[in-house]
């Protein structure tokens, strides 16, 4: 259950849970609004009906459809209706049956249908999700791209080349992008993490890169996903899981490996520390923002840590190594769970 509906990445932060349910062959019902207003915009207008509602990204429903298909497990949706102010409707503590049914009736009916294996109702609910998946409300993503094997191998060796591929992306939008761009520009692969092992000898790292470049699993290309977030679990682990099932496993086609680029994170602590070059960062902010650079810079560096170290055992590390064949960090590669079996 969630009160939120987001376009963009945030709508996918719960996708990991839907994937986990499907992988366990457990039916899943997502209960949330299809669209809702932003709380902070309620103060900007007299009539909330005039506010622009944010919609749940259709990528979420496409992902549910993929999960349903792959695991033959119902991945369903029940709508949480919104009230007159565009926020999800709640019922008072002492509510009537009618009030309860208005808000939660469809959800309860769906749960009953699953529990009692009401085939007709489940089929209808699955069809509804399939319909929602066709109502695309997303634009072409700048952070997701198809790579040939050769392109992927080149970027693994020289991640800084990502700047050329994502030329316009860093020049607009939130100031935090400059923090990430600096990390991309400074990227240099010198270490490989495989499970708990660190491979640092130059010739060994080079050999692994050579072997990766000719890996049969990469023959048909890869899906690249760039994340400019700091070290945090959400929403990008959900995005990765969603891409894994939605983009990497097209119906009737071979699975494509997912290659994550995560430049604000390093394998080695020394690399993360070296990234914090305030002189270089302030220069980039001055160039973009001119006299207003200080405010944007302060906003960007206010995060708990702008550059961090890959930490095993965290949710994001578990999710990324599960769904990504490889993770390209600022100073090295982290092999996904499957690949790390080849280089223990």
């Amino acid at each position: 259950m969630t009160e939120h509906a987001y376009t963009g990445d945030n709508g996918l932060q719960r996708f990991v849970r839907s994937a986990a349910a499907a992988e366990q062959r457990v039916p899943f019902v997502y209960f949330g609004p299809l669209a809702r207003v932003r709380d902070d915009e309620l103060d900007l207008i007299v009539d909330p009906a005039d506010l622009s509602k944010r919609s749940l990204t259709s990528d979420f429903f496409e992902g549910l459809v993929a999960l349903d298909r792959i695991f033959a497990t119902p991945m369903l949706f029940a709508k949480w209706i919104v009230g007159s102010n565009g926020k999800v409707a709640k019922v008072p503590a002492a509510c009537t049956q009618a009030q309860l049914s208005t808000v939660y009736g469809d959800l309860v009916s769906l749960i009953e249908a699953v529990l009692w294996t009401d085939a007709a109702a489940i089929a209808a609910a699955r069809a509804e999700v399939a319909t929602l998946a066709t109502k695309k409300n997303t634009t072409t993503s700048e952070v997701r791209f198809r790579l040939t094997r050769v392109e992927a191998a080149d970027l693994m060796r020289q991640p800084a080349k990502l700047l050329g591929r994502m030329q316009g992306y860093f020049d607009k939008g939130k100031p935090h992008k400059l923090i990430a761009r600096h990390a991309v520009a400074m990227s240099k692969v010198s270490v490989v993490r495989s499970g708990d092992n660190l491979i640092t000898a130059k010739k060994d790292v080079s050999q692994i890169l050579d072997d990766l470049a000719i890996l049969p699993a990469f023959a048909n290309g890869l899906i690249g996903y760039y994340s400019g977030y700091e070290w945090r679990p959400d929403p990008h682990s959900g995005v990765a899981a969603n891409l894994y099932y939605r983009d990497c496993a097209p119906k009737g086609a071979p699975r494509l490996p997912l290659l994550l680029f995560y430049p604000r994170i390093s394998v080695l602590e020394a690399s993360a520390v070296a990234l914090e070059d305030r002189k270089a960062l302030t220069a980039s902010f001055k160039m973009r923002y001119g006299t207003g650079w200080k405010k944007n810079f302060k906003m960007s560096i206010d995060a708990s840590a702008i550059y961090s170290v890959w930490t095993v055992g965290t949710k994001q590390a578990r999710v990324f190594t599960k769904y990504c064949a490889l993770i390209v960090l600022n100073d090295g590669l982290v092999l996904g769970t499957e690949l790390s079996k080849k280089w223990p």
Binding site: E3, D39, L42, D43, G83, K90, A93, A94
Partner: protein, 157 residues
Amino acid sequence: MTAETRTYNRLHAALRARQGITLIGGHPPSAKSYDTDLIRIPNPSDPSARWHVDLVFCSKETLYLCELKGALSESGDDITKLAEIIRAHPLPALVPLIKRRVPTVTIPSTLTRIVKAVGVESADATAPSDVLVIEVPDDLTVSLLGFRDAGILADLT
């Protein structure tokens, strides 16, 4: 279950049972509330941040902004926060803001004041003179300490 969660559950139940009290909004420790709306109050000093108040309730004349903690000795920052909220949003501004977020709750037009309150499981410190302290040490007991005038006593006892 944490002490704060117990405090929330007890006070929430006590207020629901109390005649003349309207429960407007709640922000429990779990951040999940199914019978009240989460009321997020804009912080003019920091547009990216919003204040949450653990329990917002009212009588005919008094709007109570109540923060919850396990122990009163832990409430210093909460009391400061409540004062900041009231400074930024005095009653005439705060009521419409709340109404926009909880359109299904009838907030009386007869409100005349805001009272800062802290709900605790254990009142282990001296209660501030300008803050109402509601101690709920168990499921049955509700004790009022600190700022208690006739109106508050009529509302909550």
